[in-house]
Symmetry: C2
Subunit: 639 residues, 2 copies
Amino acid sequence: MGTRNEPEHPVSFAPPRGFSTVLKSDLKETFFPDDPFHQFKNEKPSRCAKKAIQYFVPIFEWLPKYNLRLLRYDLLAGITITSLAIPQGISYAKLAFLPPIIGLYSSFVPPLIYAVFGNSKHIAVGTVAACSLLLQSTLSDVVSPKDDPALYIQLIFTTTFITGIFQTALGFLRLGILVDFLSHSTITGFMGGTAIIICLQQLKGFFGMHHFTTKTDVISVMHAIFENRKEWRWQSAVVGVTFLCFLQTTRYVKKKNPKLFWVSAIAPMVTVVVGCLFAYFAHAEYHGIQIVGHLKKGINPLSINLLNFNSKYLPTLIKAGITTGLIAMAEGIAIGRSFAIMNNEQVDGNKEMIAFGFMNIVGSFTSCYLTTGPFSKTAVNFNAGCKTAMSNVVMAIGMGLTLLFLAPLFSYTPLVALSAIIMSAMLGLINYEEAYHLFKVDKFDFIICMTAFFGVAFISMDVGIILSVGLSLIRALVYMARPATCKLGKVASSSVYRDIEQYPDSTNIEGILLLQLGSPIYFANSTYIRERILRWIREEQAVSNSEGSNLENVLLDLTGVTSIDMTGIETLTEIRKTLQAYDIKMAIINPRIRVMEKMIASKFVDTIGKEYFFLSIDEAIEASRFLLRESKLQIRCNS
Amino acid sequence: MGTRNEPEHPVSFAPPRGFSTVLKSDLKETFFPDDPFHQFKNEKPSRCAKKAIQYFVPIFEWLPKYNLRLLRYDLLAGITITSLAIPQGISYAKLAFLPPIIGLYSSFVPPLIYAVFGNSKHIAVGTVAACSLLLQSTLSDVVSPKDDPALYIQLIFTTTFITGIFQTALGFLRLGILVDFLSHSTITGFMGGTAIIICLQQLKGFFGMHHFTTKTDVISVMHAIFENRKEWRWQSAVVGVTFLCFLQTTRYVKKKNPKLFWVSAIAPMVTVVVGCLFAYFAHAEYHGIQIVGHLKKGINPLSINLLNFNSKYLPTLIKAGITTGLIAMAEGIAIGRSFAIMNNEQVDGNKEMIAFGFMNIVGSFTSCYLTTGPFSKTAVNFNAGCKTAMSNVVMAIGMGLTLLFLAPLFSYTPLVALSAIIMSAMLGLINYEEAYHLFKVDKFDFIICMTAFFGVAFISMDVGIILSVGLSLIRALVYMARPATCKLGKVASSSVYRDIEQYPDSTNIEGILLLQLGSPIYFANSTYIRERILRWIREEQAVSNSEGSNLENVLLDLTGVTSIDMTGIETLTEIRKTLQAYDIKMAIINPRIRVMEKMIASKFVDTIGKEYFFLSIDEAIEASRFLLRESKLQIRCNS
């Protein structure tokens, strides 16, 4: 290659960009990948200010354009989700061992906050089963909800406050990247596992039991159920099964005919109303069917004075706040995005975090516990035809009226009806099909999913999720440690070079070994890359020798390598040294901008010589052939 | 694209390989990247067995070919390293708060084991300063070396045993991959930080102090030195500075004239001998200069009966064993490899681990503590011209003779001479130049290096190394979460398409946006990739609109994408859905084998249609243009 003419299309040896340029570009890609400021470019300051306000407080963007036509849709959607919010609020509060009224409070204030700051049109705010249970199981470690309910409620509000602060901080720091590490497989497994344990816990309500465990794993729960067999009440079980059948039937109707979604949407409310009437007229209390009990009138009392930052509990609260905050956020953002994609809209994850954060901070001041955008409620909202966040306002108004006037009516709700509602909701979250799909397409994704599922079901919710995320990260690191390298051959009657494993028809190029390296070339894989390349060379030499030819050139195609570090560059230098000993030349093809910058800065380019860099495979092969001819010529001349 | 003719070179839609094929190939790349069994292919069983023995016990490979000529070299090298092993053995044992004789024992048995199982020709076995200090600082947490020296020694042997088991297990499990995660930058910083704290600790010896701290961080050590100022002895300091100057001068001589390496190699022995003579004749003990004290004759006593697996200490011992084992292994393997590369030889990391493991297991039975292939000794061995592991045998014989006959002579060694030897060795380990080089080439590598350096110097050795490795992993994960995507343009007067940022002369293709995606497309970056692509499209549309043209095709070049997971495939589906809404077509160019397999398995290929897959950029562009013409024609016909 040394003596050839200059190639027509030289590789760019532009001096590396300045450190600050690279850093700025890196930070932008890491924290502002969606380029939120693009709309402020080339605008007047006054318009900029207006846009900035609209950006940070989305209600200013949609409210001015709001009209009666939209309100009609949102009104219908809002009423539908209110009818779901009441039974779900009461049920999930019971799951968190909280007074049912707090569940209702939680659907009043947070939706109003979300309507102002949220940027998804479809999310319906409310409490979620998984986080309610997780809160309960974490806080039960430090305080018993039964023995000291006042302290327990204080700690719940404080945890909600911590969650809010955490979510807001993540949003402002643009750390949406953290949520990205909860993979779809992890969430599928987590949801399934949670659904299982929540269903099992409902057996307490089904059998009308009084004593139960605060642990969440399958074994403890099953043990608790069978240990207290004497408490089982058949009356309760009959009522529960009846309700469950009713709810599952409505779900089936919805599945068969999606237009009848409202049947399944109002079913929980129907269950509650029927349950109340039944309990009232049949004096169910005296027949082993427990009821919710007294619910007082009036909207949310202030709870800011109840926040308790006692250092004895703080570590547990912070742990609970961060875990539930992350899970709630992941669920809310993922769901908001899924529905936005259906309408080709964007949801900004970082802005959503801030909205969720504000919602929980204000919520913790006004007797609400952890809220987010739960899947079931959001799906109902979407199906009911919501157009803007106004449906949340409608729900809040409906909830406010309920709290002011109707709350006491719900005191007759049988616990078993709530159990049936929760169980029915949870059965819908076990996604067999997705798990099977994962199994078919990607075994490792399936293992990650199953780890979350069994971890949650048999150990505990936080351990399950940590194991599953850990496994995802190990997979990512193994990917990194063993980047795919392949040997390229010329595809028959074309000018392209492709992986010979994938295109077995492609042919070798005489005397040349053409390798495409995987990305990145980092410390974690530099040893591997060296050994892998040496192995290719060994195999190639064995073939060449048997054919009587000689391997003279190794061409490394770096098209796919987007990043390299110091160890990687040293590895390339070492490989070249080894090749020199075998009398084989090494050339580099198409290093990308970041790789080239490092190669220039580290003097690698000077070490191996600019004439060994090529823009394309064709040019590199041509140059190698030229040299091959030359050397053969020289041998003939000498002999 | 729909109506075009079939392309000449179709993309391979071969059915995905079987699960077991993929798994086998993955496992091979992960655990056997060097293909250790390639030499057994096509061999007779008898030769196979012989080769297998030679493979697992390398001495059978080199000993039969051994001859007198090689012995001459190894003898010289062996004697040279013996002269270094004696002072270093005593010094590092003092660093680990062990009786000096154990340091000498440790250079007798382990080298013999290594000569049998090791596969590096250059490694000289011995103890290392960093691990000696780390052992001491970890074990001092559970037992005081001063108050209960017998128990302390038991725990040191037990830790060595655990290290041996751990290293052997890693080797058999082919987990050399773990060592890969200790990056060069981390090791540079760790060595520098360790050198600093070890040097500071030597001030105890320099000033002849009796009381000192067991902590290792700079602040505690400085505090200990100045707190006990009353103990300072000027006589000791004068002797120490004299020796240090002598040692540094010999290093300088070696640096100026590498042929005189032996001057610096025997300098520590000279220091010890001169120190002994001086101490003996000047009765140095009575002038504030402490000496090593009684050393008894005789080779290693058995210590297998001293192993102590008391559950009270076990967790600490396991922690210490694993940490020191990993560091020692990383140092030994890295050094063995560096020297092997100079001679174009290979060192098998996994086999080295097994050799180190055996060495430490047998060592722990015979009164030795943690040994590996230390940098200084190995470099001397290499420079002295060693040819095989026989030099280790020579050293072991030299050491055995010393233990049998000469040991008592060394009891007069002044501690301050040992301090000077350690300090001189450590000063050579602070690699300013490397740190500066990292700063110039890669700021993040520099930060990783400095984290290890300051972490070790100011917090503790294990925290420093954990922080640094953690930072390397975060970097790897951020790389993964934000893969580099670029827009390609046609390079002037050529047929290749390159990054327009790198080649600003390259031109846009009308109506087409050509993007090259980075690898891999995983859950952790799927949101980013979607947002990034939508940003490119937004920017492209802004340009197109101002030019009056229209963006009609988005071509995704997947040449560089070596892996994709389920979330990644869903993201591509979503992107396509979004593009359809804008009336833009999406095509896939050159998916690699693994990506294509997942696309087929997940029905992605069926969803978007095989006609949207292309083997090369050229073909995709041609097809898009064809369609563009067609659609324009149609518009003209219609109007």
